[in-house]
């Protein structure tokens, strides 16, 4: 019906009709799918939540004399970075924490500062403390460096998240009689609360459930700047239970994304501490969906009432990798603030901010309307159901001692 290049032509002329994934719902109700698909060019989505498989790589530049940090040890603000690369390339993971963090020794640990916080501070323009030790070589003689460093002084600073934007996720509850501390937040005993983590009807992959438009090379909103989808994310698992609308009822697709950290904003990359669990990074992600057909338009009009998530017990089923679920619940119910689990009224809270997701979808809409953000044609689509991906557990095989 429409092509991406035709839509881009309209964006360049300032004529593109762009709406958010929230606004499209009312438009379709009023005008119907056929007319809405004809009139609308792009639907924007957004999500803002903690995403642990995030990180950044940096090229620090060469000191005089030179030091080969590769193969040595290095920290940024005492947070260890991965150095198994060339001389001055390092990778910082969002969940890395200082060696002297007490972790869960005093339970529950606070994890006040980690890789995600370093990334936020760098993006905010703050100096961070680089300390590195190396073994020294003829061409890289130096064995230690301690210096302040700033994002602006680095050659490259690239956000690279190997799994972001989970397409649906568990609703976490606690059936045990004691409080537990999880990556889904603090869960009170005996079904004291339920935490979920998706922007539902605004979430990128829930608006493109069969990966018809989002693929490798898709230009996106990432951390307040521009980024790209570079691959499917780790644990990408299209073969899960789906509704008649194609929307997965379990955690399914994921995205690997990349972008220049120097043009991102700290408001959209927040270091985050999860009590008793660890440190992470809360990431702002937004994806435009080109309305190429009525089918795609119909997907973007999905409502919270039509998206279901599984309720999982994080005291026993999740840690023991048992497949049991306690039921399914819609995002409309979750967002109402109360759900019913095993006959009990349970208050809900979201790790993912719907308010911020709406803001991201709005910003992306404005960028496109102003002609500042053109859509890209993916060079390949993400693996879909037909790819036959099987989600593998780690089956342990004993290592025999000689």
């Amino acid at each position: 019906m429409k092509t991406i290049s035709e839509i881009n032509e309209r964006i360049r002329k300032g004529q593109a009709v762009v709406v958010t994934a929230e606004e499209i719902i009312g438009i379709v109700r009023e005008k119907g799918v056929e007319r809405a698909a004809r009139e609308i060019d792009v639907v924007t989505t957004g999500t803002f939540g903690p995403m642990c498989s995030s990180g950044a790589y940096f090229n620090l530049g060469h000191s005089a004399p030179r030091i080969k940090i590769g193969g040595g040890k290095a920290t940024l603000n005492d947070v260890p970075v991965y150095t198994g690369l060339a001389a001055v390339d390092i990778f910082l993971g969002a969940t890395a924490i200082p060696d002297d963090d007490p972790r869960n020794k005093t339970y529950p640990g606070h994890f006040n500062y980690g890789g995600g916080h370093v990334i936020e501070e760098l993006v905010a323009g703050k100096d961070v403390r680089l300390i590195a030790t190396a073994y020294g070589t003829d061409c890289y003689p130096r064995k230690k460096i301690e210096t302040w460093i700033n994002l602006s002084e680095m050659n490259e600073a690239t956000l690279f998240d190997m799994r972001n934007g989970y397409q649906n996720y568990n609703v976490a509850v606690n059936l045990s009689d004691k409080t537990i501390y999880t990556y889904m937040g603090v869960l009170k005993p005996n079904l004291g609360n339920a935490n979920y983590c998706s922007a539902g009807q605004l979430s990128p992959l829930l608006n493109d459930p069969l990966y018809r438009t989002i693929g490798i090379g898709t230009r996106i909103f990432l951390g307040g700047g521009i980024g790209y989808v570079v691959w499917h994310g780790t644990q990408h698992n299209p073969n899960v239970l789906r509704g008649e609308n194609g929307v997965p009822k379990r955690g399914a697709g994921t995205l690997a994304v990349i972008g220049d950290l120097k043009q991102m904003k700290p408001e959209w990359l927040r270091g985050t501490s999860m009590l008793g669990y660890g440190a992470t990074l809360t990431v702002g992600l937004g994806i435009p969906i080109p309305i190429l057909s009525e089918e795609i338009l119909r997907f973007t009009a999905v409502r919270d009432e039509e998206i279901f998530a599984p309720i999982v017990d994080y005291s026993e089923a999740y840690p023991q990798r048992k497949p049991d679920i306690l039921g399914e619940v819609s995002y409309a119910e979750l967002r109402s603030g109360m759900i019913k689990v095993m006959g009990k009224e349970v208050p809900t809270a979201s790790l993912s901010s719907y308010y911020k997701a709406r803001e991201i979808a709005g910003i992306l809409k404005t960028w496109i309307q102003k002609g500042e953000f053109l859509l890209t044609e993916p060079v390949a689509l993400l693996p879909g159901v037909e790819a036959g991906i099987k989600f593998k557990p780690l089956n342990e095989r004993p290592i025999e001692k000689e």
Binding site: M184, V186, N195, T282, A349, L351, Y355
Partner: protein, 72 residues
């Protein structure tokens, strides 16, 4: 100062309400603002981020003299 803090909190509230939460002012003393997070914010794992990156940042911007915000 309390009136200014109340006015600033009124600007923050819609954002919290969109996520099912809310905030009530308890008191303001020596630049320290004490608030109670309500609704979904009360049990939300992200409430520390909301408090520091959201409420405290905005109050510091809007109300001179605010040093920090604490949840009770």
């Amino acid at each position: 100062m309390r009136e200014k803090v109340e006015a600033a909190l009124a600007e923050v509230r819609p954002a919290l309400q969109a996520d099912g939460g809310g905030v009530d002012l308890i008191d303001v003393k020596d630049g320290v603002v004490r608030v109670r997070l309500t609704g979904a914010c009360g049990g939300c794992p992200m409430s520390t981020m909301t408090l520091k990156a959201g409420i405290e940042r905005i109050l510091k911007e809007k109300v001179p003299g605010v040093k920090r915000v604490e949840a009770v």
